[in-house]
Every structure is written in C-alpha cells, then in structure tokens.
C-alpha cells in the first residue's frame, strides 16, 4: 500500500519535471517559457521529495521530514528567480513589453 503511494508520487513528480522542461524547450518566447519551470518543475521536485519522505519514514527509524525543508526552500525561491529573470529580460529589451 505504502509502496504504491511512493511509486505514485515518484511517477507524478517525474512526469511534472519532464513537462516543465518540455515547456522550456517548446514554448515560443522567454516569457511563456518562464511558466514551465516555475510551476511544473517545482511541483515535480515537490512530488519526488514527498515520495522520499514516505520512503524514509517507512523504514522504521522514525519520521524523516527534512526533505520538506528543500521543498519549502524551492517554493520560496522559484518565484523570486522567475521574477528576476523576467526583469532581466525586460531590462535587456529596454523596458518595453512584448
């Protein structure tokens, strides 16, 4: 049962990581490309980290929650990175939109 759950989270995480990167490779311009990595990839890593929490907590030596720290950190930093990259792009274009 637990193993199924771990496998499910691994598959979801891997799939979302891939979808985010497909977005990065496929979408037509920088601002649309920003959407893939900031959302899908972050959640993909989140899913894999949840799988890791479940796996190491089920080994019998107590809860193992420190993966949550990595997830938290990524959820805080991903929007900041996206914001800075978007600003750098706007700056290079001379402040003009589109």
């Amino acid at each position: 049962m637990l193993e199924t759950l771990i496998a499910l989270f691994l598959v979801i995480g891997g799939a979302f990581a891939l979808i985010g990167s497909i977005g990065l490779a496929r979408l037509p311009d920088l601002f649309t490309r920003l959407h893939g990595p900031t959302k899908a990839t972050t959640v993909g890593v989140g899913g894999i980290l949840i799988a890791s929490v479940l796996h190491f907590s089920s080994r019998g030596d107590g809860l193992s929650l420190h993966e949550l720290l990595v997830t938290l950190f990524l959820f805080i930093t991903a929007p900041i990175s996206a914001y800075l990259i978007a600003r750098a792009m706007l700056h290079l274009r001379g402040g003009k939109e589109s």
């Binding site: 496998a7 691994l10 990595p37 080994r59 993966e67 990595v70 991903a78 990259i85 750098a88």
Partner: protein, 89 residues
Amino acid sequence: MLNAAIAFAFICIAAALLLNFWRLLRGPSAPDRILALDTMYINTIALLVVFGIYLDLTAFFEAALLIAMMGFVGTVALCKYLLRGDIIE
C-alpha cells in the same frame, strides 16, 4: 513496482535535463540561458533524491539542500549582473 517507478522517474528527469541542456546551448538570449541553468539545478535535486531512494541512503539530502541554495544564489547573481552590470553593490 517501486523499482519500475524509480526507473520511470530517472528516465523523465534525464530527458528533462537533456531538454534543459538543449535550451542552454541554443539560447537565444542570456535570460533564456539563465532560466535553463536554473531549471537544470532543480532537476538535479530531483535526480539526487531519486538516487537516494534507489540506494536507500539518506546522505544525499544535505547535498540536495546545498544545490538548492547555491543554485538560487547563482541565478540571482547572474540576473543582477544582467540588470546592473556588476554583482556587488
């Protein structure tokens, strides 16, 4: 079944890293390359964690945390460089 899921995750993340690398080489602009690098380090964290589950070792989490921090600092520094022309104000 867990092994099949781990294999699936490995394949997905490896494909994702290749796509990111392609974007890194192709550009076309500097922010595109920064975004590709940023995504690459996030995917690397995922790869490390899956590898940790595969080997049943907890030793990789500190590495994953460090990659997360250093990658973020790197992205911020590169963007600041593009925005201001120098990093240290």
